[in-house]
Symmetry: C2
Subunit: 563 residues, 2 copies
């Protein structure tokens, strides 16, 4: 089947030029650009006055963070022009190990968007945590043969690279031996340590928060991923990178993106739009999101409107606003008038389905699980800072005579992180300040990076109810008030992803996030966002895992009470 | 061993910036750039006031055309900053088949220059010729496993690609299946046919003679190789490509380069210098010759001064003139004060050596072999155009009563192309005009692309003497006058390469080229250059092979006499 897109203004990502051209497509591939006419094609689509550019590529995303299955993620993003993403299934791998990677590969098969996979490099994130799996080099190696597996995902354990840690270096070596890419993640690393990290063959970085930080890396040969997601938003600080001589070494990524944010604002298109609104060239943004993403990952035959390239194309009503009318994926129209054309979702059955649907292995909880033995001395307490992932280490005197120490007047709530992968019954228990709950409890199975069950409450009974509900539904976010579930968002797939559409997931998520105000949380706090990072012991300062409190800076387990 | 290059102005090929920096090298690899000091290194080389840039890469060369073995080629080019070449052993493969490829791989092992190999894609060049070998896809496949083999060499049989020729498409498919690059060669191809050629996955082109021709290809995704060799010189016409938005898709190549030209003018350095003399940026030239060449071929870890990159570095006294003082190859100094440090030449013994040293399989020649049966009618004659590879088809009346038709007054000489690979005794025989010999004979075993023995003479006896001498010494260029060899350049390796140094080869070549004037050739004709292409039936108009005269435009064998 030969398709001719006629009279469009084609964005040439090799030169940045825009030329009126006809584009001939055969069997999913662009076979010609230039003076073709109706007689060359079976189907002619006259796009006079419209623009044609390559489909967008998100260079780094954790699809699990959208809480959507890959097919639902695709349904949400295709209309925004995304035809490929490079996904690191780091979250599901922390829960389900290699089954999680296999699931994401299977769940993204034959959908109208290419989901390339980077193998999670750091599972678990640290030794101070109990993840669902431990992935060593030998667990990963068998995946390099998959054509969609491009390499080793963000190597956030940069101290291990700098100190030549044997296990991590073996993962790096194996990726290189397979001719693959290694993504970086090394915020603030500079000078000698950065040199050592880059010399190990780390291709890129997506953690830069300033253009100076990025320029140092570009000069040293790394690609820079300009990140603009739901939580981390670096675009404004990175705007200088849209100019020569740096722009050609940058690509665009979202990293983490919530479903409502996709629906309301878009995906990669929204980054290009925002850069343009800030005075930068739309064409430069398109180059970053297409051919440069392909170059960054060594992908051949995608990311350009040129002979031999995949016919992953966007037809835009308007270039400046990236107003997308049609999307073609390997020559098939997958979005028309801004609406995604229906496609079949991959069906996953058998043991793989079982594995991701039965990821909760933990005992039933009772209020007793959250009772602390009264103790004198200063209590080491996690201090949440609104809108930030870092926490403070605070100290409080606890009065155990009332409510086993819970004191909503001083915003001292119980915090529990319950191991949920191996039925160990391990619970890290303590206090948290800065969430603002006046009653009830909130709980979630999205709890980076090990995704144990995290519960915060003003009542141990409600904490047990919240935790048991999540255990019962196999994962999710829950709000409990006066012994009753008042809102829930089921995340049955590994406790991380919904099996619903983006709209439905966004709506459930919205309800859960609003329900927290009914249990007293002030409007300026988004507790689920903070809660998701309270157990991640690679971000300072004080965090809670199933093994207890962790001083992140010292990388040690620390006692609840300072005697 | 840690080496510090201190206080140099480093050319950053990623950004085009020049920064004063210290460069730390460990075990052949750059491990740091920036604030390193003496305490970091075992050896410190203070290069204050000098420039540091990556070693140059020639993106397309036939080493055989230098008439030098790879080690001698390296000795000639290292001082000009060349640390890598991408070589297509097309000439020796036409003589020795896969043994020729194996020989070039072995002969370039462990020399202080990386010789990457592209597999000759078109052996023989056409079906109207008798080469030493026929290379099919299956002959090439086993070579893709060699790390230095980057892909399939210049696919000059572009009509076969455009017409989906099965054998050629199989070669393309196998190269892609192995994840390799395919070099292009398609002069003047444009529009639809160019689209078809590029869509087949042809990476680049080095045959562009105008910037317009090149820009069409850049827009369609090809890399452009700006060629400036000894014969074909395209730089001046390609100067617009040194500017944005095209320069980042171009690299520099020599294709064919003679030893005297290397000695007198240099190699890739001379192209950058010439571009600079014509007002273009030296840094742009360096970018083309380094990181961009690496990108064009998908080479990782070469072509930049950055952590993790091979320490293939040049120390320049002066940037504008590319005055090279030191050259480092994987951290070892291989050139100092402009002099190449001695290294061992690869020793090749056994059957491979035998194969390339005994490439002549043909009977002894006598004057009788060059006698034509008298014939009336117009004689189809090759008309040489000075300084060009294309020829004219001329017609002469021949008077066979004197000298069997040779008529030096009308510059009508005998031309013979003698099959020399398979002992068939085939001789293509006819007349040539435009060489200017008044007596004697000249002969050569460098005769593109099949490299049969080509002889031009004013005397059949001298033609036999010249041809037999070349047969005796296993290849070379010879000038005969009055029954005596007056100059010769032995090319014992496959009849293509000298076993001497570049200086010696250049001197022998000079003597041979001058000796032609003693047999009457006018000073404005360089007969060996013309002779080398008289038997190449892919360049118009009339050519001679062992099978007789070929009308190149019609791609047919044509009779000597028009009846």
């Amino acid at each position: 089947m030969k398709l001719l897109l006629k009279n469009g203004f084609v964005v040439n990502v090799f030169t940045g030029e825009i030329e009126k051209q006809n584009v001939l497509i055969e069997d999913g591939v662009i076979t010609g650009t230039g003076g073709y006419d109706n007689s060359d094609a079976d189907i002619v689509n006259d796009v006079s006055g419209k623009y044609i550019c390559p489909g967008f590529i998100d260079g780094h995303i954790h699809i699990e963070s959208t809480m959507l299955l890959p097919c639902e993620f695709a349904r949400a993003c295709i209309s925004h022009g995304t035809t490929a993403v490079i996904a690191d299934p780091h979250e599901i791998a922390n829960v389900c190990g290699t089954d999680g990677i296999r699931f994401m590969l299977a769940a993204s098969e034959n959908i109208p968007m290419t989901v390339y996979i980077m193998l999670p490099s750091c599972v678990p994130a640290t030794n101070f945590d109990e993840a669902g799996a431990v992935l060593e080099a030998e667990d990963l190696n068998s995946f390099y043969k998959y054509p969609r597996v491009l390499g080793l995902g963000e190597l956030m354990n940069y101290p291990a690279v700098v100190s030549d840690d044997e296990k991590v270096m073996r993962k790096i070596k194996e990726a290189h031996r397979s001719g693959k890419i290694i993504n970086g993640h090394a915020p603030k690393l500079t000078g000698r340590e950065l040199d050592k990290y880059i010399a190990a063959g780390i291709n890129d970085d997506h953690e830069c928060c300033s253009s100076d930080e990025a320029i140092e890396r570009i000069r040293k040969g790394q690609w820079i991923m300009i990140r603009e997601g739901t939580a981390a938003r670096n675009l404004i600080d990175m705007l200088p990178l849209f100019d020569a001589p740096y722009s050609h070494r940058c690509i665009l990524v979202t990293d983490d993106k919530h479903p409502a944010d996709i629906i309301e604002n878009g995906h990669i298109d929204s980054i290009i739009r925002k850069a343009a609104a800030n005075g930068k060239s739309t064409v430069t943004g398109i180059q970053m999101a297409t051919i440069q993403a392909a170059q960054c990952f060594g992908l051949k035959g995608v990311g350009a409107v040129a002979p031999g390239y995949a016919a992953n194309l966007l037809v835009l009503d308007n270039l400046d606003e990236i107003k997308i009318n049609e999307v073609y994926y390997y020559g098939s129209k997958v979005c028309e008038n801004g609406r995604v054309i229906e496609f079949e979702s991959p069906v996953i059955s058998g043991p793989l389905r079982e594995s991701v649907l039965s990821s909760f292995r933990m005992p039933v909880l009772s209020a007793d699980n959250f009772m602390l033995t009264p103790h004198t001395g200063k209590c080491r307490t996690i201090g949440v800072i609104p809108g930030q992932l870092i926490t403070e280490e605070l100290f409080f005197d606890i009065d155990f005579s009332i409510n086993n120490g819970i004191d909503t007047n001083r915003d001292l709530l119980k915090l529990a992180v319950c191991e949920r992968h191996h039925n160990t019954g391990h619970i890290g228990l303590g206090f948290i300040h800065g969430i603002g709950l006046k009653q009830g409890a909130i709980a979630s199975s999205v709890s980076h990076d090990s995704h144990n069950l995290i519960i915060i409450g003003a009542s141990e009974e409600d904490m047990a109810i919240a935790g048991n509900r999540i255990r019962e539904i196999g994962g999710g976010n829950v709000v409990v008030k006066e012994g009753r579930i008042i809102a829930e968002m089921p995340l049955p797939i590994a406790g991380l992803m919904s099996d619903q559409s983006a709209e439905c997931a966004a709506s459930q998520n919205y309800k859960v996030r609003n329900a927290v105000y009914e249990v007293g949380v002030p409007k300026d706090i988004e507790p689920f966002m903070n809660m998701a990072f309270v157990s991640l012991p690679v971000i300072p300062s004080l965090k809670m895992t199933t093994m207890g409190l962790i001083d992140v800076n010292r990388q040690e387990i620390v006692p609840l009470f300072e005697d």
